[in-house]
Amino acid sequence: MTALIIENLHKTYRNGFEALKGIDLKVEQGDFFALLGPNGAGKSTAISIIASLINKTTGRVEIYGHDLDRERDLAKRLIGLVPQEFNFNMWEPVEEILVNQAGYYGIPRKLAFQRAGEALKRLGLWEKRHTQARWLSGGMKRRLMIARALVHRPRLLILDEPTAGVDIEIRRSMWDFMREINRQGTTIILTTHYLEEAESLCRNIAIIDHGRIVEQTSMTRLLSQLHTEVFLLNMAAPINRAPDLHDYRTTLVDSDTLEVEVDREQSMNQLFRLLSAQGIEIVSMRNKQNRLEQMFVDLVDGSKEKHA
């Protein structure tokens, strides 16, 4: 079954700004889907329309077979949203925020407390259940929004930059949590500025720019389109000029670091053989740029040129 279908979605704001210029999108049930794009590309507008936070101009949205216009309630019951900005009552205790949200979905109060407790425990907020939301740290507030979005057990969870401003440790634990709920059957749509996050979590991807989808494919297929990758190699001993490695383009970043551009057809084994032959020992290596980031920049630049 298809979790989300968007057809020819347009949004023009009152000031005349055309945020969405007819986007089409399909997300399959159980998918972990990345919706990426630069700031102002239309990601948040699209998400806000799906979540009924703003009205669309024209177009159609369907959630698990339920049209958002004609079967509004049924469609809404299936969505959970973790928005970009904190949007809860800062003066309300954490548990109450979750219980109220459950109530809006028709969950009786007793069961709502039970569900809230489960969600708070899963996200490590149980100890803070009686604390007013304003006293939580930034990471805890993010987790509170995830707990709130899950309290009615949605089948489609939309995460709009859920790990923004969160430290690495918490981000990793949030990734594990997202993977777990996806494994349990929840379809996830993720927007993020951390492209390594999208690369690590998502199976499919759409890139939106200037209100249009410029690419929609699987993560593997997208990354396979990369023709070259740039690696930074740390050498055991310093050198004073970049070695000649035949077809591999090299640049000496500093006396201990060598930058090598590797084409898709070229072999890493061959590269290391050539380096060894010249007596250069490599102690570590890393990508200069995240692979998805490189692809993303290429696509967005391409889209910019098209619109220029």
């Binding site: 009152r14 936070l53 019951r77 800062m90 109530g103 809006y104 028709g106």
Partner: protein
Amino acid sequence: MNQNSWQIYRIAFQTIVTKEILRFMRIWVQTLLPPAITTTLYFIIFGKLIGDRIGEMDGYRYIDFIVPGLILMSVIQNSYANVVSSFFGTKLQHYIEELLIAPVPHWVVLGGYVVGGVARGTMVGVLVTMISLFFTDLAINSYGLTLLVFVLTSVLFALAGFINAVYAKTFDDISIVPTFVLTPLTYLGGVFYSIELLPEFWQWLSLANPVLYMVNTFRFGILGISDIDVVVALVIIVGFIAILTLYSLRLLSRGVGIKE
């Protein structure tokens, strides 16, 4: 709409009402205490100290005459204040989105906030009535009419507060209407005097003030006296409620102030 939907709406409605009641109870020092203190001062100053020198009004001691108006004034102000501040807060901190994303129809949202406002209006009204018993013997002429006007007035001003909150963009916007519209209308709505004391022109002008109808009908419910026809007053109050309800629902469905 199936039975399941109705059950969801009922629980959602109860949730909004409970949330609203907990909100004003949590800050009772700001919401319940001030009207109690203010009206006590009104009773002491206007009712006892000055009132004893004024003598009778429409055949009643002055304090007996002003008690119904003062009770209703506190109901008006608190029903309005509760909804305007609470709904504006939900917009300001963006947690209106919790309701927008959920399967809660507009009429449930409106109903929940209005009943929240009525709950605070009722609580303050009861509190003020209890205080008034220290100053006067409240013999009620018609319990049914008194209760009806009490609730209808509270609903009407809760609706008005809701509309104010929808349009409000700043804190100034939620204080302008109560200060420059609501307070003058209430003070000039016959709380402290009978309009028969006014020259003919001002009497005629007073009839354009909706608060006059509520105060007089409420006073009729308690004392059995009124400057205006009670049936006409009830029709006007219900008419205003119908208009404001439809207007509020229209604002919600168009997303004015909340989906922009």
